[in-house]
Protein backbone atom coordinates (compact mmCIF):
# COMPACT_ATOMS: atom_id res chain seq x y z
CA UNK A 1 0.00 0.00 0.00
CA UNK A 2 1.65 3.23 -1.03
CA UNK A 3 0.78 6.85 -1.62
CA UNK A 4 2.68 9.01 -4.12
CA UNK A 5 5.39 11.32 -2.84
CA UNK A 6 3.50 14.20 -1.25
CA UNK A 7 4.28 17.56 -2.79
CA UNK A 8 4.25 20.55 -0.46
CA UNK A 9 2.02 22.34 -2.95
CA UNK A 10 -0.85 19.84 -2.85
CA UNK A 11 -4.17 21.65 -2.50
CA UNK A 12 -5.82 18.58 -0.98
CA UNK A 13 -4.45 15.61 0.95
CA UNK A 14 -4.29 12.07 -0.44
CA UNK A 15 -6.93 9.44 0.26
CA UNK A 16 -4.30 7.22 1.85
CA UNK A 17 -2.77 9.99 3.99
CA UNK A 18 -1.54 8.69 7.31
CA UNK A 19 -2.50 5.07 6.76
CA UNK A 20 -1.10 2.39 9.02
CA UNK A 21 -1.36 -1.38 9.07
CA UNK A 22 -4.80 -1.07 10.71
CA UNK A 23 -7.79 1.25 10.41
CA UNK A 24 -7.33 4.88 11.44
CA UNK A 25 -9.33 5.58 14.59
CA UNK A 26 -11.78 8.49 14.57
CA UNK A 27 -9.28 10.68 16.46
CA UNK A 28 -6.47 9.82 14.07
CA UNK A 29 -8.77 10.42 11.16
CA UNK A 30 -9.83 13.87 12.42
CA UNK A 31 -6.21 14.81 13.15
CA UNK A 32 -5.28 13.80 9.62
CA UNK A 33 -8.16 15.22 7.59
CA UNK A 34 -9.70 17.83 9.91
CA UNK A 35 -13.15 18.17 11.38
CA UNK A 36 -16.14 17.22 9.28
CA UNK A 37 -18.17 20.34 8.60
CA UNK A 38 -21.59 20.39 7.01
CA UNK A 39 -21.43 21.75 3.52
CA UNK A 40 -24.17 24.15 2.43
CA UNK A 41 -24.01 23.36 -1.25
CA UNK A 42 -22.18 20.08 -1.52
CA UNK A 43 -23.72 18.98 -4.81
CA UNK A 44 -22.56 22.18 -6.50
CA UNK A 45 -19.08 21.72 -4.99
CA UNK A 46 -18.94 18.14 -6.28
CA UNK A 47 -20.02 19.31 -9.74
CA UNK A 48 -17.33 22.01 -9.75
CA UNK A 49 -14.71 19.49 -8.63
CA UNK A 50 -15.68 17.31 -11.60
CA UNK A 51 -15.92 14.17 -9.48
CA UNK A 52 -16.85 11.01 -11.36
CA UNK A 53 -17.74 7.60 -9.96
CA UNK A 54 -14.86 5.27 -9.16
CA UNK A 55 -16.79 2.01 -9.33
CA UNK A 56 -16.14 1.52 -13.04
CA UNK A 57 -18.70 3.58 -14.95
CA UNK A 58 -17.19 7.05 -14.25
CA UNK A 59 -20.66 8.61 -14.07
CA UNK A 60 -20.66 12.27 -12.88
CA UNK A 61 -21.33 12.05 -9.13
CA UNK A 62 -23.20 15.37 -8.87
CA UNK A 63 -25.70 14.24 -11.51
CA UNK A 64 -26.44 11.12 -9.52
CA UNK A 65 -27.08 13.14 -6.36
CA UNK A 66 -29.33 15.60 -8.20
CA UNK A 67 -31.41 12.78 -9.67
CA UNK A 68 -32.11 11.40 -6.18
CA UNK A 69 -33.01 14.83 -4.80
CA UNK A 70 -35.64 15.19 -7.53
CA UNK A 71 -37.63 12.19 -6.27
CA UNK A 72 -40.53 12.37 -3.85
CA UNK A 73 -39.45 9.66 -1.40
CA UNK A 74 -36.90 9.98 1.40
CA UNK A 75 -33.72 8.51 -0.05
CA UNK A 76 -31.38 5.82 1.23
CA UNK A 77 -27.64 6.11 0.64
CA UNK A 78 -25.91 2.85 -0.25
CA UNK A 79 -22.14 2.68 0.02
CA UNK A 80 -21.01 0.17 -2.58
CA UNK A 81 -17.85 -1.46 -1.27
CA UNK A 82 -18.79 -4.90 -2.63
CA UNK A 83 -15.95 -4.97 -5.19
CA UNK A 84 -16.85 -8.22 -6.94
CA UNK A 85 -14.09 -7.62 -9.48
CA UNK A 86 -11.37 -10.20 -8.68
CA UNK A 87 -8.50 -8.00 -9.91
CA UNK A 88 -9.53 -5.10 -7.66
CA UNK A 89 -8.96 -4.67 -3.93
CA UNK A 90 -8.92 -0.88 -3.53
CA UNK A 91 -12.39 -0.51 -1.99
CA UNK A 92 -11.58 -3.19 0.56
CA UNK A 93 -8.31 -1.36 1.30
CA UNK A 94 -10.26 1.84 1.99
CA UNK A 95 -12.72 0.09 4.29
CA UNK A 96 -9.96 -1.71 6.14
CA UNK A 97 -7.56 1.22 6.52
CA UNK A 98 -9.48 4.50 6.39
CA UNK A 99 -13.15 3.68 6.92
CA UNK A 100 -13.97 7.06 8.46
CA UNK A 101 -13.15 8.84 5.21
CA UNK A 102 -15.75 6.71 3.42
CA UNK A 103 -18.27 7.16 6.25
CA UNK A 104 -17.68 10.95 6.15
CA UNK A 105 -18.53 10.93 2.48
CA UNK A 106 -21.61 8.79 3.07
CA UNK A 107 -22.83 11.08 5.88
CA UNK A 108 -22.24 14.17 3.72
CA UNK A 109 -24.04 12.63 0.75
CA UNK A 110 -26.95 11.61 2.99
CA UNK A 111 -27.14 15.17 4.29
CA UNK A 112 -27.04 16.60 0.76
CA UNK A 113 -29.89 14.44 -0.57
CA UNK A 114 -31.95 14.36 2.65
CA UNK A 115 -31.47 10.63 3.23
CA UNK A 116 -32.53 9.10 6.54
CA UNK A 117 -30.64 5.84 6.13
CA UNK A 118 -27.10 4.81 5.13
CA UNK A 119 -26.32 1.19 4.25
CA UNK A 120 -22.72 0.09 3.76
CA UNK A 121 -22.55 -2.98 1.53
CA UNK A 122 -19.65 -5.41 1.65
CA UNK A 123 -18.96 -8.81 0.18
CA UNK A 124 -19.51 -11.62 2.69
CA UNK A 125 -15.88 -12.63 2.07
CA UNK A 126 -14.63 -9.22 3.31
CA UNK A 127 -14.27 -10.15 6.98
CA UNK A 128 -11.41 -7.85 8.09
CA UNK A 129 -13.19 -4.98 6.33
CA UNK A 130 -16.44 -5.74 8.10
CA UNK A 131 -14.63 -5.77 11.41
CA UNK A 132 -12.92 -2.41 10.72
CA UNK A 133 -16.18 -0.90 9.54
CA UNK A 134 -18.15 -2.06 12.58
CA UNK A 135 -15.45 -0.62 14.85
CA UNK A 136 -15.51 2.71 12.97
CA UNK A 137 -19.31 2.91 13.19
CA UNK A 138 -19.14 2.41 16.96
CA UNK A 139 -16.73 5.35 17.24
CA UNK A 140 -18.95 7.93 15.58
CA UNK A 141 -22.43 9.41 15.60
CA UNK A 142 -24.96 8.60 12.95
CA UNK A 143 -26.84 5.45 12.05
CA UNK A 144 -25.00 3.23 9.61
CA UNK A 145 -26.19 -0.23 8.69
CA UNK A 146 -23.93 -2.96 7.32
CA UNK A 147 -25.20 -5.30 4.60
CA UNK A 148 -23.26 -8.27 3.28
CA UNK A 149 -23.88 -9.78 -0.13
CA UNK A 150 -22.63 -13.01 -1.74
CA UNK A 151 -19.05 -12.95 -3.03
CA UNK A 152 -20.06 -12.97 -6.68
CA UNK A 153 -19.02 -10.72 -9.55
CA UNK A 154 -22.48 -9.30 -10.29
CA UNK A 155 -23.36 -8.73 -6.62
CA UNK A 156 -21.81 -5.25 -6.84
CA UNK A 157 -23.95 -4.22 -9.80
CA UNK A 158 -26.30 -1.51 -8.54
CA UNK A 159 -29.64 -3.22 -9.05
CA UNK A 160 -28.30 -6.60 -7.88
CA UNK A 161 -26.99 -4.94 -4.73
CA UNK A 162 -30.33 -3.25 -4.09
CA UNK A 163 -32.28 -6.44 -4.60
CA UNK A 164 -29.97 -8.16 -2.09
CA UNK A 165 -30.41 -5.34 0.43
CA UNK A 166 -34.17 -5.67 0.07
CA UNK A 167 -33.90 -9.34 0.95
CA UNK A 168 -33.89 -10.88 -2.52
CA UNK A 169 -31.19 -12.60 -4.54
CA UNK A 170 -28.12 -10.53 -5.52
CA UNK A 171 -29.13 -10.47 -9.18
CA UNK A 172 -29.71 -7.49 -11.47
CA UNK A 173 -33.25 -6.23 -12.07
CA UNK A 174 -34.69 -4.54 -15.12
CA UNK A 175 -34.15 -0.77 -15.56
CA UNK A 176 -36.27 1.33 -15.47
CA UNK A 177 -36.95 1.76 -12.65
CA UNK A 178 -33.45 3.14 -12.10
CA UNK A 179 -32.09 3.14 -8.55
CA UNK A 180 -32.71 6.90 -8.19
CA UNK A 181 -36.38 6.36 -9.09
CA UNK A 182 -36.57 3.90 -6.23
CA UNK A 183 -35.06 6.43 -3.81
CA UNK A 184 -31.54 4.98 -3.72
CA UNK A 185 -28.24 6.79 -4.06
CA UNK A 186 -25.64 4.08 -4.72
CA UNK A 187 -22.05 5.32 -4.61
CA UNK A 188 -18.77 3.49 -4.73
CA UNK A 189 -16.64 3.65 -1.55
CA UNK A 190 -13.75 5.52 -3.20
CA UNK A 191 -16.16 8.03 -4.73
CA UNK A 192 -17.50 8.80 -1.24
CA UNK A 193 -13.97 9.13 0.13
CA UNK A 194 -13.48 11.80 -2.54
CA UNK A 195 -16.74 13.47 -1.47
CA UNK A 196 -15.24 13.79 2.02
CA UNK A 197 -12.19 15.52 0.48
CA UNK A 198 -14.30 17.83 -1.74
CA UNK A 199 -16.41 18.92 1.25
CA UNK A 200 -13.26 19.98 3.12
CA UNK A 201 -11.13 21.37 0.28
CA UNK A 202 -13.48 22.19 -2.59
CA UNK A 203 -11.62 19.83 -4.88
CA UNK A 204 -10.76 16.17 -5.25
CA UNK A 205 -7.34 14.81 -4.42
CA UNK A 206 -6.60 14.55 -8.13
CA UNK A 207 -5.63 10.96 -7.43
CA UNK A 208 -7.13 7.52 -7.91
CA UNK A 209 -6.62 4.20 -6.20
CA UNK A 210 -5.33 1.45 -8.42
CA UNK A 211 -4.84 -2.27 -7.87
CA UNK A 212 -1.67 -3.37 -9.60
CA UNK A 213 -1.00 -7.05 -10.33
CA UNK A 214 0.60 -9.45 -12.78
CA UNK A 215 4.24 -9.14 -13.84
CA UNK A 216 5.09 -6.21 -11.56
CA UNK A 217 7.58 -5.67 -8.77
CA UNK A 218 5.13 -4.19 -6.26
CA UNK A 219 1.66 -5.66 -6.64
CA UNK A 220 -1.11 -4.22 -4.47
CA UNK A 221 -3.18 -1.10 -3.92
CA UNK A 222 -1.51 2.23 -4.70
CA UNK A 223 -2.65 5.83 -4.95
CA UNK A 224 -1.65 7.53 -8.21
CA UNK A 225 -1.87 11.05 -9.59
CA UNK A 226 -4.36 11.19 -12.46
CA UNK A 227 -3.15 12.55 -15.77
CA UNK A 228 0.08 10.55 -16.06
CA UNK A 229 0.67 7.95 -18.73
CA UNK A 230 0.19 4.25 -18.10
CA UNK A 231 3.92 3.67 -18.66
CA UNK A 232 4.92 6.38 -16.17
CA UNK A 233 2.44 5.15 -13.57
CA UNK A 234 3.64 1.55 -13.77
CA UNK A 235 7.25 2.73 -13.61
CA UNK A 236 6.58 4.97 -10.60
CA UNK A 237 4.92 2.04 -8.81
CA UNK A 238 8.03 -0.11 -9.06
CA UNK A 239 7.93 -1.19 -12.68
CA UNK A 240 7.46 -4.53 -14.39
CA UNK A 241 9.29 -7.64 -13.21
CA UNK A 242 9.85 -9.14 -16.68
CA UNK A 243 9.12 -8.25 -20.32
CA UNK A 244 5.45 -7.32 -20.72
CA UNK A 245 3.34 -7.51 -23.89
CA UNK A 246 0.18 -5.73 -22.71
CA UNK A 247 -1.71 -4.26 -19.78
CA UNK A 248 -5.28 -4.94 -18.77
CA UNK A 249 -6.65 -1.54 -17.72
CA UNK A 250 -9.86 -0.84 -15.72
CA UNK A 251 -10.78 -4.45 -14.92
CA UNK A 252 -12.45 -7.52 -16.36
CA UNK A 253 -14.81 -5.13 -18.18
CA UNK A 254 -11.85 -3.05 -19.33
CA UNK A 255 -9.47 -3.04 -22.26
CA UNK A 256 -6.16 -4.60 -23.18
CA UNK A 257 -3.54 -1.98 -24.05
CA UNK A 258 -0.43 -3.07 -25.97
CA UNK A 259 2.77 -2.34 -24.03
CA UNK A 260 4.00 -0.19 -26.93
CA UNK A 261 0.98 2.11 -26.42
CA UNK A 262 1.50 2.51 -22.66
CA UNK A 263 3.68 5.60 -23.11
CA UNK A 264 0.92 7.48 -24.93
CA UNK A 265 -2.10 6.39 -22.86
CA UNK A 266 -3.05 9.06 -20.31
CA UNK A 267 -4.90 7.66 -17.30
CA UNK A 268 -8.21 9.38 -16.51
CA UNK A 269 -11.24 8.39 -14.39
CA UNK A 270 -12.88 7.40 -17.68
CA UNK A 271 -10.34 4.83 -18.85
CA UNK A 272 -9.20 3.70 -15.38
CA UNK A 273 -12.64 2.32 -14.53
CA UNK A 274 -12.35 0.59 -11.16
CA UNK A 275 -8.59 1.22 -11.17
CA UNK A 276 -7.29 -2.21 -12.17
CA UNK A 277 -3.92 -2.53 -13.91
CA UNK A 278 -2.65 -6.03 -14.74
CA UNK A 279 0.70 -6.51 -16.51
CA UNK A 280 0.69 -9.50 -18.89
CA UNK A 281 4.15 -11.05 -19.31
CA UNK A 282 5.34 -11.59 -22.89
CA UNK A 283 5.68 -15.33 -22.23
CA UNK A 284 1.92 -15.59 -21.55
CA UNK A 285 -0.77 -15.79 -24.24
CA UNK A 286 -3.06 -12.76 -24.35
CA UNK A 287 -5.83 -14.73 -26.03
CA UNK A 288 -5.39 -17.53 -23.50
CA UNK A 289 -5.62 -15.12 -20.57
CA UNK A 290 -8.68 -13.43 -22.10
CA UNK A 291 -10.26 -16.88 -22.58
CA UNK A 292 -9.71 -17.57 -18.88
CA UNK A 293 -11.36 -14.27 -17.91
CA UNK A 294 -14.21 -14.78 -20.40
CA UNK A 295 -14.86 -18.26 -18.97
CA UNK A 296 -14.94 -16.75 -15.49
CA UNK A 297 -17.36 -13.99 -16.60
CA UNK A 298 -19.60 -16.57 -18.29
CA UNK A 299 -19.71 -18.47 -15.00
CA UNK A 300 -20.51 -15.27 -13.13
CA UNK A 301 -23.54 -14.43 -15.28
CA UNK A 302 -26.57 -14.11 -13.04
CA UNK A 303 -28.17 -16.65 -15.37
CA UNK A 304 -31.23 -14.53 -16.03
CA UNK A 305 -30.87 -13.25 -19.62
CA UNK A 306 -30.55 -15.66 -22.58
CA UNK A 307 -28.05 -13.64 -24.63
CA UNK A 308 -25.74 -13.37 -21.58
CA UNK A 309 -26.06 -17.02 -20.51
CA UNK A 310 -25.59 -18.48 -24.00
CA UNK A 311 -23.54 -15.68 -25.54
CA UNK A 312 -20.82 -15.48 -22.90
CA UNK A 313 -20.49 -19.27 -22.85
CA UNK A 314 -20.14 -19.31 -26.66
CA UNK A 315 -17.65 -16.43 -26.58
CA UNK A 316 -15.52 -18.16 -23.96
CA UNK A 317 -15.58 -21.35 -26.05
CA UNK A 318 -14.56 -19.51 -29.21
CA UNK A 319 -11.69 -17.81 -27.37
CA UNK A 320 -10.52 -21.21 -26.13
CA UNK A 321 -10.60 -22.46 -29.75
CA UNK A 322 -8.70 -19.41 -30.93
CA UNK A 323 -6.10 -19.94 -28.19
CA UNK A 324 -5.62 -23.50 -29.55
CA UNK A 325 -4.95 -22.09 -33.01
CA UNK A 326 -8.40 -22.23 -34.68
CA UNK A 327 -8.24 -18.95 -36.63
CA UNK A 328 -11.83 -19.28 -37.85
CA UNK A 329 -13.02 -18.65 -34.29
CA UNK A 330 -12.11 -14.97 -34.65
CA UNK A 331 -15.02 -14.22 -36.99
CA UNK A 332 -17.46 -15.99 -34.67
CA UNK A 333 -16.15 -13.83 -31.83
CA UNK A 334 -16.70 -10.63 -33.78
CA UNK A 335 -20.28 -11.67 -34.52
CA UNK A 336 -21.09 -12.75 -30.98
CA UNK A 337 -19.58 -9.79 -29.13
CA UNK A 338 -21.78 -7.55 -31.28
CA UNK A 339 -24.76 -9.80 -30.54
CA UNK A 340 -24.52 -9.69 -26.75
CA UNK A 341 -24.07 -5.92 -26.39
CA UNK A 342 -27.05 -4.19 -24.82
CA UNK A 343 -28.99 -7.44 -24.57
CA UNK A 344 -28.96 -8.07 -20.85
CA UNK A 345 -30.78 -6.42 -17.97
CA UNK A 346 -27.37 -5.19 -16.79
CA UNK A 347 -24.10 -4.39 -18.56
CA UNK A 348 -22.40 -7.71 -17.76
CA UNK A 349 -22.47 -8.92 -21.40
CA UNK A 350 -21.39 -5.47 -22.63
CA UNK A 351 -18.38 -5.44 -20.35
CA UNK A 352 -17.30 -8.92 -21.42
CA UNK A 353 -17.75 -7.97 -25.10
CA UNK A 354 -15.59 -4.88 -24.64
CA UNK A 355 -12.76 -6.90 -23.12
CA UNK A 356 -12.90 -9.56 -25.85
CA UNK A 357 -12.98 -6.99 -28.66
CA UNK A 358 -9.92 -5.28 -27.22
CA UNK A 359 -8.16 -8.66 -26.99
CA UNK A 360 -8.87 -9.32 -30.69
CA UNK A 361 -7.48 -5.88 -31.55
CA UNK A 362 -4.30 -6.30 -29.50
CA UNK A 363 -3.49 -10.03 -29.71
CA UNK A 364 -5.16 -11.55 -32.78
Amino acid sequence: MTAPAVEATRAAPLLLTGIRNRALTLDEHMNTFGELVRHRDLIQAIARAGLRGRGGAAFPTAEKLKAVVGQRMTPTVVVNAVEGEPASSKDRALMRLTPHLVLDGAALAADAVGADRVVVALSESARPERHALAQAIRERRGAFEIATVPARFVAGEETALLQAIEGGPAKPTLKPPYPFERGYLVQNAETLAQVAIVARHGRTTGTALVTLSGAVNRPGVHEIELGGTLADVVHSLGGTSEPVSAFLVAGYFGCWVAARDAATMTLTPDNLGAGVIVALPTRASGIGETARIARYLAGESAGQCGPCVHGLDAIAGALESLARGDRAAASRLTRWTAHVRGRGACRHPDGAARLVESALAVFA
Partner: protein, 70 residues
Protein backbone atom coordinates in the same frame (compact mmCIF):
# COMPACT_ATOMS: atom_id res chain seq x y z
CA UNK B 1 -43.67 7.52 -31.44
CA UNK B 2 -43.62 3.95 -30.22
CA UNK B 3 -40.93 1.34 -29.89
CA UNK B 4 -40.57 -2.26 -28.90
CA UNK B 5 -38.75 -3.35 -25.77
CA UNK B 6 -37.96 -6.82 -24.55
CA UNK B 7 -37.52 -7.75 -20.90
CA UNK B 8 -34.40 -9.93 -21.24
CA UNK B 9 -34.96 -11.51 -17.82
CA UNK B 10 -38.47 -12.67 -18.69
CA UNK B 11 -37.67 -13.70 -22.29
CA UNK B 12 -37.21 -17.45 -22.74
CA UNK B 13 -36.43 -17.35 -26.44
CA UNK B 14 -39.63 -18.92 -27.72
CA UNK B 15 -39.11 -16.92 -30.92
CA UNK B 16 -42.75 -16.37 -31.87
CA UNK B 17 -42.19 -12.62 -32.03
CA UNK B 18 -39.61 -12.95 -34.80
CA UNK B 19 -42.01 -15.09 -36.83
CA UNK B 20 -44.86 -12.60 -36.43
CA UNK B 21 -42.85 -9.41 -36.84
CA UNK B 22 -39.85 -10.19 -39.06
CA UNK B 23 -39.74 -6.57 -40.26
CA UNK B 24 -38.13 -5.53 -36.99
CA UNK B 25 -37.27 -8.69 -35.03
CA UNK B 26 -34.59 -11.26 -35.84
CA UNK B 27 -33.23 -14.04 -33.67
CA UNK B 28 -29.63 -14.37 -32.50
CA UNK B 29 -27.70 -17.63 -32.75
CA UNK B 30 -29.33 -18.86 -29.54
CA UNK B 31 -32.90 -18.03 -30.46
CA UNK B 32 -33.34 -14.77 -28.55
CA UNK B 33 -34.87 -11.73 -30.23
CA UNK B 34 -32.79 -8.83 -31.53
CA UNK B 35 -34.98 -5.75 -31.91
CA UNK B 36 -34.20 -3.27 -34.64
CA UNK B 37 -34.36 0.36 -33.49
CA UNK B 38 -36.82 2.82 -34.87
CA UNK B 39 -40.34 4.17 -34.57
CA UNK B 40 -43.18 1.74 -35.06
CA UNK B 41 -46.32 3.17 -36.64
CA UNK B 42 -49.07 2.44 -39.15
CA UNK B 43 -49.18 -1.09 -40.48
CA UNK B 44 -46.05 -1.98 -38.52
CA UNK B 45 -47.86 -1.20 -35.28
CA UNK B 46 -50.47 -3.89 -36.04
CA UNK B 47 -47.72 -6.46 -36.55
CA UNK B 48 -45.90 -5.31 -33.46
CA UNK B 49 -49.02 -5.63 -31.34
CA UNK B 50 -49.59 -9.14 -32.65
CA UNK B 51 -46.02 -10.07 -31.70
CA UNK B 52 -46.49 -8.56 -28.24
CA UNK B 53 -49.74 -10.47 -27.71
CA UNK B 54 -48.18 -13.76 -28.85
CA UNK B 55 -45.33 -13.78 -26.34
CA UNK B 56 -46.01 -16.68 -23.95
CA UNK B 57 -44.12 -15.01 -21.09
CA UNK B 58 -45.20 -11.41 -21.82
CA UNK B 59 -41.60 -10.30 -22.25
CA UNK B 60 -42.31 -8.01 -25.19
CA UNK B 61 -43.77 -4.53 -24.81
CA UNK B 62 -44.72 -1.74 -27.15
CA UNK B 63 -44.13 1.53 -25.37
CA UNK B 64 -44.47 5.20 -26.13
CA UNK B 65 -41.11 6.92 -26.50
CA UNK B 66 -42.36 9.76 -24.30
CA UNK B 67 -42.31 7.51 -21.25
CA UNK B 68 -39.35 5.39 -22.33
CA UNK B 69 -35.99 6.15 -20.83
CA UNK B 70 -32.80 5.04 -22.54
Amino acid sequence: MKRLRVDPIACDGHGLCAELFPERITLDDWGYPILEDGDISGKLERHAKRAVASCPVRALRLESLKTARR
